[in-house]
Symmetry: D2
Amino acid sequence: MIRAGIYGVSGYAGFELFRLLRRHPAVALIFAASESGAGSSMAQLFPVTEDFPIISFADAPLDQVDVVFLALPHGVSATVARQALAAGVRVIDLSADFRLKDPGVYARWYKEEHPAPDLLEEAVYGLTEWNRPAIRSARLIANPGCYPTATLLALLPLTRAGAIGPGLIIVDAKSGVSGAGRKPSLTTHFVEVDENLSPYNIGRAHRHLPEIEQILHAFNGALGPLVFSPQLLPVARGILATIYVPLASGWTEGMVRDLLVESYGPEPFVKVLPPGTLATLRHSVGTNLCVLSVTGVPEAGLVILTASIDNLIKGAAGQAVQNLNVMFGLEETAGLL
Amino acid sequence: MIRAGIYGVSGYAGFELFRLLRRHPAVALIFAASESGAGSSMAQLFPVTEDFPIISFADAPLDQVDVVFLALPHGVSATVARQALAAGVRVIDLSADFRLKDPGVYARWYKEEHPAPDLLEEAVYGLTEWNRPAIRSARLIANPGCYPTATLLALLPLTRAGAIGPGLIIVDAKSGVSGAGRKPSLTTHFVEVDENLSPYNIGRAHRHLPEIEQILHAFNGALGPLVFSPQLLPVARGILATIYVPLASGWTEGMVRDLLVESYGPEPFVKVLPPGTLATLRHSVGTNLCVLSVTGVPEAGLVILTASIDNLIKGAAGQAVQNLNVMFGLEETAGLL
Amino acid sequence: MIRAGIYGVSGYAGFELFRLLRRHPAVALIFAASESGAGSSMAQLFPVTEDFPIISFADAPLDQVDVVFLALPHGVSATVARQALAAGVRVIDLSADFRLKDPGVYARWYKEEHPAPDLLEEAVYGLTEWNRPAIRSARLIANPGCYPTATLLALLPLTRAGAIGPGLIIVDAKSGVSGAGRKPSLTTHFVEVDENLSPYNIGRAHRHLPEIEQILHAFNGALGPLVFSPQLLPVARGILATIYVPLASGWTEGMVRDLLVESYGPEPFVKVLPPGTLATLRHSVGTNLCVLSVTGVPEAGLVILTASIDNLIKGAAGQAVQNLNVMFGLEETAGLL
Amino acid sequence: MIRAGIYGVSGYAGFELFRLLRRHPAVALIFAASESGAGSSMAQLFPVTEDFPIISFADAPLDQVDVVFLALPHGVSATVARQALAAGVRVIDLSADFRLKDPGVYARWYKEEHPAPDLLEEAVYGLTEWNRPAIRSARLIANPGCYPTATLLALLPLTRAGAIGPGLIIVDAKSGVSGAGRKPSLTTHFVEVDENLSPYNIGRAHRHLPEIEQILHAFNGALGPLVFSPQLLPVARGILATIYVPLASGWTEGMVRDLLVESYGPEPFVKVLPPGTLATLRHSVGTNLCVLSVTGVPEAGLVILTASIDNLIKGAAGQAVQNLNVMFGLEETAGLL
């Protein structure tokens, strides 16, 4: 049994991790920690959950675990990661602290100095389907952001294959409210969200933009700037990204779909829909799937990719568990079906 | 023109008052005050609202108004009310501070001493349809709570007519989230409310219970205890109260409906539905209406009253404006159609 | 492996059965039938479902199965049940056809002659927790209605123990829209349901009333008439029943909670919440649980039971699978955790 | 008083027309017609509506009205329009029948011959802000589609001013469910829409695409092909279009905003938001406003326009009334504030 701990168990991603790990056949959850929830139990924070105690960070028995998951705010995460690594514990970090390779880029987007620049080099970006060899041996995983997961799973096959032509890539993305976290704010107040749709940080203003571009440019440095428009949906969970991609000469809708099917054929958690069917939120919510569909617009030299994930599962806790499975040589679907 | 001011304009009830008063043909809104919003403008707090300045309480020009509306927390409200009354300004208070006549009852339910017991006697309960003579000459109106408004408009005709038999009156009430206010909390977080229904303070534990009973018992001191079960609905606005009433001997569904029709016949803001039609939230939301329906259960000696209101309009700001209209001799529907 | 078939797989309950049976470790799903969907596949009707063929009723290979589930309209169900029984196949019927023991009562509520009165006597009411010995050997199970499941699981311990005093039992029940079926109608149109709450068939007018009373009266023929008020919630799934019960002399909230805890102590699918916590929809949706809470109202001689279930799982397909597990001697939780 | 009639009053747009016309100070509603609703009354079809009779088309007194509104399916509308015009009655048609000038284009997109090609030439496209002189004297108005209204109000100032550079214009549009009409279907079933987001007819496949392009190309024939992606939101009302526009050389966000402000400065129903504020659904729903915001993406040579309207008001019935006001020389805001 792999012995695991969770830091930040009182948020939505932390709770999702808790649920996944408690039913994982090869994982023993040794502790669940939360500074705000310390002293209470999971059953007190979340309805109909088993009565698992919540401890403080200081009480976390790092000597009894093989791996910890960090579902913490950026900045906080790096400090806990350093402690865990020092104790010989592998780390899967769901925050943004180790996603950007360049501490200068981090400082620009997160408005503070990077808290652990010396750890950046060894951090491995945990987009499972695209990084298995490095994940297998990693001590420190930077679990991808929710929007980047959906966007990159759609775009990377085209990027690698040279299917993307000159022109802008536009990602019009819509997310459920759990992506904004469990901390109450006017932004997440029911009355403000209900019957509404709110764009925010559109263009090139959202922190997930440099994360997406860093990965895309690693495959093709010549790609132009991305445009990324996040929007808040009146639903609890799920991301739907509608992605407009200029095609390189000679590429067609059919070729793009074939490429995706071939790229992800054996993958258990990426599904490519047949012609005429479009991915919706419903396709993925509640699962660790990323569901993709392809629509050609030949008059415009364009293909529209639609990518659907559950932001808390494939976009956070589910992908983190998938990475754990790879890191410890388990069946990759263990605990995720 | 009646010159009016609003205290507490940054909450949902305060904003609803602002909208109603700005389109009221006989009211000039002189000021809109909010401690948290002072210095900004309505357009900054609420989308597509005109650019009306928000001032602090200290800056409110009490000498330039005839009446003020208080959309404030209980406790705070009484202090502002006293200032306004001292300045010769009439007060319509939407808080709970002047609804309960007995300061001991207030202390028991609100867990603090009553902030202005000397003002209780002259305060007039502003359930418009039932209290017009006193409202007309009142200096200080205690605007009813949202649940009490729906419940009392349904029950008072039966109480007065002696139609209620021995046995329990059970009020199973459901409310939209705006009733919980605009201050963010886990209770009003979209993800917690969405796809959920949550009972709270059921039985005899909600502060609106003594308010309802005080009025009912004024009409019939022999009525037994009320049971009141509020529940939080995943909608923004509206209250639906399903009220189970034991009938006095000889009463039937038809007689109860006739009684309601007769009681409210000329009323512009109370509608009684015909046989076979049940009041739903949709009937009232967005209006100052209270919509009532009657279903007999002869095998059980019972009648079920269903009462629907918009909690922010008839249950708060709309009824407050209706009271203003009565107080100043205006057409009662002015600004409310 | 138990070999099973589903009739009526294109509705919400049928699809839920499909999902549960496909992951059931001891069941082989031999066929999925639907008259309207015959010739297509599950993947065509429901997003991200495996490509399981849908056949017509005529093509269903009854000789290859041990048991069939009927998720069909009443009237239709009885005919298919007779065919299956004649072929030596055990039947779990999710329709209303075999719930009411008296064909006269059926005719009165369903406005047609009972289609198979000769089968009524042997039909076993499948409220699993209360009827295991009969279920074990049954050829024909009448799976309970969704509202009756929630209501009876709450009330039966009190009924059996004599805890219910004279007076009315009032069930104010709220249900998500999937309970109204997948067939489009104005009642289930998004725009009509959204931001609304609609009572329907309240009092003693809903077909689930005689079903509930039949079972209650089998335990205590002296209980008075039930009042039952169903209401349509703007959510997809879940039932919350708020049940007002007059207590027999000497009974208290604590005694009722102890009684429930004792009655359901070892049950895997019934949870009784601790004092101060109220059951919400969220407690049960997505699970086969019935979650119960108890609130005493001593001034009124009353206890309020709150019962929460997922109408498609514990209220339909989940309980049907639970019954299958009992019928075939499997672990009762098999396929349901 | 202008005497008006409505055909198709039982749908959502028809009902919205009914509400607007009944409170319009200069309009007398002479009749409300619906083939499916004939013989009943508005109060029977819609909750808390006045008891206005619904007549059949055959009974509509065309000799008693000055103008009729057609809220009918395409194909049906043209026939009624011809009858009304023959009777000397002016027509405001909310269907698609007279929007496309070329009957060949109509046949291609609507899969049937145009029902009245001889009337196409005189039909005036009723995008009020852009076509007042022609609307003033028109006998036959083609009221714009909902998506085209939002899209064109955002794009036309830029088109006219030459602000759009070479490259694709991408319209990622999201609509509430009332846009799909009141006729029940699986697409509009609450359970299918709730917690979902569904793209449909994306790319160049939706019937509103040729309507938008026809108008854009009338201003600038050199504009490239438009890409248009409609998506169904889990809300009742409202359209939010996120529009990606390549800028002509020299243009900036500030210049585009200034252009919009200047273009629409005196307009009562178009609002341009200040820098840093993005249009949301909430900005327009319940009003006849189109609310616009501008976000520059200089690195991409792009501007993002966000346009928000209420699909049933500015996108249908409200704009139709606005056109009526222009046609009959009334105050343009009459009945719309």
